[in-house]
Amino acid sequence: MRSPAPIRAAFGQALAEAWAGGAGALLPIGFFAGAAMLVPFTVGSEANQLAAIGTGVLWVALALASLVSMERLFQADLEDGTLELWAQEACPLFLIATAKIFAHWTVSGLPLVLLTPLIGITLQLPADQLLPAMLAYGLGGLAFFSWGGVAGALAASVPRGGLLIALLALPLFVPTAIFGALAAEPGAVGPNILFLAASTLFALAVAPFAASAALRLAVD
């Protein structure tokens, strides 16, 4: 690879596309907040109860919200022909896939992380733990988006592939969900945040190659 220009361009294009979609970037946020809002209605408003499950609720909502817009991430590129062009670039496709996943995370993953303290407070989580826990949500979100990107690339050529993407990605979310929930638990210390970071690094190392193999299949 001679210059990072293609990667920057792919990142910029993905950002522009997400914002140009109007509510596209807001959709996961709405889903995230809406899913969390349902919880007090279903389990009751008792502060102790909410505080006990709040962390877990945020993780489940984060995992599901990260899948909401995954269907369009690569499918749109496939439909308008952009993917064909990327697949013929001298720049390796896995770098393009990484740039796109990262752009997608920036637009619709990062806002979720920034929103966690707000929703956490409403779920009666201890306020002083919420900011440190954002690190865990950020790391976990990256892993969710990476595996979700693999699933999205695999299902890129499948019409209405959203449910398929969820079925493919959710088992891969398990390690992140486990370590993430342990690391974000109020008062929890120990190696869990390191385990979470390690599983995110693993996702970042494996997912781009799998996604690019899947994208080559999608354009074939």
Binding site: V158, P171, V174, P175, I178, F195, A213, L217
Partner: protein, 243 residues
């Protein structure tokens, strides 16, 4: 003429007698172990009485569930590197059988769990959780293959997913173990493998062998069906082409 359709000739010749032979041998061994399990083996009080006889199906199906995912991953890898059509047929055939054994493992586990743990399902048993996740991996694999429009695409997509799943299995297992070790409250049935009395161990191992051979018979049969289907498709395609 492209030779990729000619590949499986030797396989068909071999599997023609191997598949039924395995089927008979597998059923005989399973039947023997079930007879031992249900009528011969003494009741074991400290592991839940009669219900522990479920072990003779539960444990072999757990082993086969794990083994079949490994088989799926290896077949996918072989196909991805060497593009050997039989490897893809094996992967395609293993998936539903593996899913079946995984479901059987979960079902017998739940039946066994009800009298022993007092509940059908215990989330904090790491092995049950790993098997459950494996079940979802199989489901996803089959759903993805079914969603692809050509056989070649199904093979490629399936291989990518199976390999992604395979590299994730150790991490999933590790995380589930850690999680179970934190949440564990109930006492979990422990299988002290070598220390188990021979009267249990022999039927168990023979039963596992029987299930393995039975598994092979089913896989070979499905692969044969796949070969026949492809031959049929080739004939159809030739007819459509006006040949």
């Amino acid at each position: 003429m492209i030779s990729i359709f000619a590949n499986p000739h030797r396989f068909m010749k071999l599997s023609r007698w191997l598949a039924p032979a395995c089927l008979v041998a597998g059923i005989l061994l399973i039947a023997w172990s079930l007879w031992q399990a249900l009528w011969v083996v003494p009741q074991d009080d400290y592991q839940g009485g009669d219900i522990m006889r479920a072990m003779f199906i539960h444990v072999p199906s757990a082993w086969l569930a794990m083994g079949s995912y490994m088989g799926l991953a290896v077949a996918s890898f072989v196909w991805f590197i060497w593009r050997h059509e039989l490897a893809d047929m094996a992967a395609k055939s293993i998936a539903p059988i593996g899913a079946g054994y995984t479901a059987m493992c979960l079902a017998t586990g739940a039946i066994w769990g009800k009298p022993t743990w007092g509940t059908w399902w215990l989330w904090d048993d790491a092995r049950m959780m790993s098997v459950l996740l494996m079940f979802f991996l199989f489901l996803g694999y089959m759903a993805l293959r079914a969603a692809m429009d050509t056989r070649q695409k199904a093979a490629r997509a399936g291989a990518i997913l199976a390999m992604v799943g395979a590299v994730n299995v150790p991490l999933i297992k590790f995380s589930v173990d850690i999680w179970a070790s934190i949440h564990q409250s109930a006492s979990v049935i422990r299988m002290d493998g070598p220390a188990m009395p021979a009267i249990y161990l022999t039927p168990l191992l023979i039963g596992a062998l029987g299930h393995l051979i039975f598994f092979a018979a089913l896989t070979l049969t499905l692969m044969r069906a796949e070969v026949w289907q492809r031959r049929g498709d080739v004939i159809m395609a030739r007819k459509l082409a006006g040949g």
